[in-house]
Symmetry: C2
Subunit: 392 residues, 2 copies
């Protein structure tokens, strides 16, 4: 048996029925929906799962692997809980894939969940009190808003450029049955929406949403027994920088270093030289409209400073050069933190299978899921998946 | 390249200089000590580390992989934060080993830390509020105390049997330069100590201690370039049961199901049929004296109900049938939660190299680290290491 992440296959995916304010459901309920949809999609029984990984960021949502074990009665096997700010779900997926590549387990599940509405007014409870930047009063909208000001000064990014991101992602999300925000918005609506922090208005920010997502992962040689249209892993990158990002001497709000470094890892693993030509779609972390623009640049889909124009000219549309957030992104799904990375992988899987639930990128063969965390600068996870490597 | 956990090697270990109340040091300081000692021990530069894993349980100690990145400037690589109650550190080690076995990384580091004295009066902040049992007022000493009552009724376990565990572990810890409690105690002192919860007195409980530990992990074929006396992995088990353990119909306080199930996994992986004959030493999770007795039984070192006698007769002494907690265990090191699993692995490594810092088990060739979490019943991690498989 060889050992390589390129032998890892995803044979099932699922998510909570909708993402949004789900006051009537617990984290257990959401996980139950996601995990059993993934198992049913794969045609795998829960008793076949040999190990699990779960991403959760909020201590109030859950702690330990038992948060995954209890709702689906997945007892007496290893379950790891990963927590890596907003990349908690992507890191659960990554460690699950590494474990399959190690040969230790044949069939595993990765999932993520967050019940943010259960936080009440507490915001980021454990996180905020420990985090050296949030602790000093900088919130996510204010930190990301600063990046816009710097971009405007350096590259002439405009308020309208931000609005184009929201218009595009809402147009995509409106077609997706699981999205929290399922309506289109106009440029004027985005620009005239109430300010949340400086330049970022209500429609530049992702909503507060609950949700869960899950994936069934195995090796290629086993995957063939379950379905013909499984997808395979081409890259699993993660890059961690500092908790003290705004205090680092090289930080300039023009790029997110973890995205740049994770992209280098990912393209090297996948053998990708020109991401714009070789990647068909990408679920990109768009907690705010400005975040998507910087990430598009940092991922190499265009040059630094050209992200605004890239979106404005329609090159990030579902039928553009590369479909950025064909699902509607965080902009429409919100960001149930532990769930997001797994939801992105689930979306990319469905796109590569030609069975997207919302807008389908036609002929998609290579897709990316990109997850950013820690006020933009601390951690980034990237997975690249393929529908072409099944029988290599 | 084959892929198997049996090709994984530990080439360096380190820990904070002491375990104890370290009001003058931060989690960063403790990690710095542990990580650089491990790197120096391995003869590996920090720039050679390709990926990291860190175990932390308290949200106030830290969140995300950046907690490991900042103190040692380990930037732009993947770092996963694992959290699995009291097994957080062991699960960091386990996922690090799986990643090496996958072939994805050649040289990685696993570590764990907890700064419990920074919790002030908050006890288990995020953990307690979410945990379904702690939330209802059951604390760790009261839950483990119930196990003693049940054992007394079923098997005639006595108060003196508990005290023998404390006497043994204090005798071991007194010789260990890093232990928090470095003094011997008598049976009478243990029995007459003030009650903490029912039968469990002050000297039946592990102290509140800060600390960190770290390990440098690679493959066997690489390990040979760094040192001759590296140790190798024979088993990496983890078993998760329920958060709702005391409400499970099969729970009887006579055994910790996660330990029983993880031991099954571990012995199968290691090819061990008779643990008492084949394992020379074990660092066993002894947060309370009663916990060690149940674990000795659950791990198969003796039959159910005979754990008290096993310790009383000296069979768990450093020169007994199997050395249980030759370091002094949690009883003397306390339980800085994220650190404990890695500290145990570090201790076992040194024992197998014949360079234990405290009491040395003579001729030790196979050792176990056993980590239990979640009020005893939710999760258990076991690693079995060997000094005999280096050149297999």
């Amino acid at each position: 048996m060889t050992c390589s992440i390129h032998d890892v296959a995803i044979i099932g995916g699922g998510a909570s029925k909708v993402f949004g304010e789900q006051f009537g459901k617990s984290a257990d309920d959401l996980l139950f929906e996601a995990c059993f949809e993934a198992l049913d999609d794969a045609g795998v029984g829960v008793e076949e799962i040999q190990a699990g990984w779960i991403g959760i960021a909020y201590p109030f949502t859950g702690l330990s692997g038992a948060t995954m074990a209890d709702p689906i009665k997945l007892y007496d096997i290893p379950i790891t809980h990963t927590e890596n700010y907003c990349c908690s779900g992507m890191d659960a997926f990554r460690n699950a894939c590494l474990a399959v590549a190690s040969g230790m387990y044949d069939m595993v599940m990765a999932c993520g969940v967050e019940k943010i509405t259960d936080q009440g007014g507490r915001g980021l409870p454990g996180l905020g009190q420990q985090h050296p930047v949030i602790f000093r009063g900088i919130t996510a909208p204010s930190a990301f808003g600063l990046a816009f000001e710097r971009h405007r000064k350096e590259f002439g990014l405009t308020r309208e450029d931000l609005a184009h991101v929201a218009v595009k992602n809402h147009a995509n999300g409106a077609a997706h049955p699981r999205a929290h925000f399922r309506r289109e918005v106009t440029l004027e609506q985005v620009i005239k929406a109430p300010s949340i922090s400086g330049p970022l208005g209500l429609l530049d920010c992702c909503p507060i949403s609950d949700g869960a997502a899950a994936l069934v992962i195995t090796r290629k040689d086993i995957a063939r027994k379950y379905r013909d249209d499984f997808v395979t892993v081409r890259a699993l990158a993660l890059s961690v920088y500092s908790n003290w990002l705004p205090f680092q001497p090289d930080f300039d709000y023009l790029a997110w270093r973890p995205t740049v470094k994770a992209a280098e890892q990912a393209y090297r693993q996948a053998g990708i030289e020109d991401p714009l030509r070789e990647i068909d779609l990408a679920e990109v972390h768009d907690c705010f409209t400005i975040t998507e623009i910087l990430n598009i640049e940092d991922l190499g889909f265009c040059r630094k400073g050209e992200g605004g124009r890239f979106v404005r000219e329609g090159r990030a549309n579902v039928d553009g050069d590369v479909a950025i957030n064909p699902s509607g992104g965080l902009k429409c799904f919100g960001h149930p933190i532990g769930a997001t990375g797994c939801r992105m992988v689930f979306e990319v899987m469905r796109q590569l299978q030609g069975r997207a639930e919302g807008k389908q990128r036609e002929g998609a063969k290579t897709g990316m899921a990109h997850n950013l965390g820690g006020l933009g600068g601390t951690v980034c996870g990237i997975a690249i998946l393929s529908s072409e490597d099944r029988f290599k």
